[in-house]
């Protein structure tokens, strides 16, 4: 250790010496790195709230059955709610076309090489939707258990899907994603007899080990097992969210990146 080559400067004490460098000026910022995204997300959320739209962000790995669950949901809720869907994929309009077949407006966002949706992309897509004609908006994020969890879109809720063939330890392997979930839906549960090493109990325990109290639901689109319970959960949740919003609460997913909290403090100030 010496005072000439810098070897005594550690991450713990660097801030004490940085300001001393000649000709340099240190500015303390303390801002979320994604503050531009958080700002756009807050803007989207204001749009949703002003038009009485509830927004659910669906996340999972590719192929977990997000679009299939949406299709079953649209069919069941037709006539009950006015629904629209924003679809995120790297390429193709395939998923939006599947949704439109049910007579539901769908906007496809093609992200190119981006592995997640961000608030700006969603804002752009909102220009193509008549929010006054919608009660419920599903945002189907890019299939990916990593990146989408880091970007606030302005949604009220995060739903994370885990399909039986993926294995029951996904919450332990992808903690950031599963910690962000307001509810977890185990999909393709008709395959449980085939994939008998998948234990719903174990998957739930891994989720609880992330300090998550999120409700867990089981749904198989193919056998329709669990679909009624999923739809009841959704109806109850929408009712609860509407009551909170009517009470003047700014409703967001339960787990927020710290930047969103900072931004909330900023707009309140």
């Amino acid at each position: 250790m010496c005072d000439s080559c810098g070897c005594n400067i550690t991450p713990g004490n660097r801030h004490l010496v940085a300001e001393g460098e000649p000709g340099h000026q240190a500015i303390d910022v303390l801002q979320h790195l994604l503050s531009a995204n958080d700002h756009a997300a807050a803007h989207n959320r204001e749009h949703f709230d002003r038009h009485g739209v509830l927004a659910y962000n669906l996340m999972s790995s590719p192929g977990a059955g997000k679009t299939a669950l949406l299709e079953a949901t649209l069919q069941a809720l037709a006539g009950e709610f006015r629904i629209a869907v924003i679809e995120g994929d790297l390429e193709t309009e395939n998923d939006a076309e599947r949704i439109r077949r049910h007579g539901v407006p769908a906007i496809q966002i093609s992200t190119g090489s981006a592995c997640h949706l961000d608030a700006h992309m969603v804002h752009h897509a909102l220009h193509d939707l008549d929010l006054d004609a919608i009660d419920l908006l599903f945002i189907e994020n890019v299939g990916n258990l990593v990146c989408p969890a880091s970007f606030d879109l302005g949604q009220h809720r995060n739903l994370t899907l885990l399909s039986v063939p993926e294995g029951d330890d996904k919450p332990a392997k992808y903690p950031v994603m599963f910690r962000a979930a307001d509810a977890v839906v185990f999909t393709k549960t008709d395959l449980l007899p085939v994939f008998d090493d998948f234990s719903i109990e174990r998957a739930t325990r891994y989720l609880r080990e992330l300090a998550s109290a999120a409700p867990v639901l089981n749904a198989s689109v193919r056998s329709a097992q669990g679909l009624a319970a999923w739809l009841d959960w959704l109806r109850d949740d929408m009712r609860a969210l509407r009551a909170r919003i009517a009470g003047g609460e700014a409703v967001r997913p339960a787990v927020q990146p710290d930047g969103a909290a900072l931004h909330a403090a900023e707009s309140a100030a």
Binding site: R14, Q25, V29, L30, S35, A114, M177
Partner: protein, 119 residues
């Protein structure tokens, strides 16, 4: 990988700070990152120079303060260290904990190489 997107957003913020303070270039940027932020420090270090290219932050040093994961137990009140996929209370083992730190993704400080070049 979204670390490049994160770095691009970071550099935009840094350049804004530099502009607000009339600085021509940036010497050092300090960020705080927790394991539960979903971003990987090693990938941020790789992406940073790419995001900086052609901006006043080009050539600047990126300092990353890795924040520890700490939880507070709702049952016994203990504050303990935890792992990203096991946010259990280190004292009683219960899962009803609240995260105290470990999900940060913060721009903490920007050091501007201001005066030397301005004069």
């Amino acid at each position: 990988m979204h670390e490049l997107s994160v770095c691009q957003a970071l550099v935009e913020q840094v350049v804004r700070v530099a502009r607000e303070h009339g600085a021509g270039s940036v010497a050092r940027v300090t960020i705080g990152v927790g394991a539960l932020s979903g971003t990987e420090p090693a990938l941020l270090r790789q992406a940073y120079p790419i995001a900086c290219a052609g901006t006043p932050a080009e050539g600047s040093t990126l300092e990353i303060n890795e924040r520890p994961i700490r939880v507070r137990c709702a049952l016994c009140g203990a504050e303990t260290d935890a792992r990203a996929n096991r946010l259990l209370c280190g004292a009683c083992g219960d899962w009803h904990t609240q995260l105290l730190s470990g999900d940060e993704l913060l721009l903490e400080q920007v050091e501007l190489a201001k005066l030397a070049e301005a004069i």
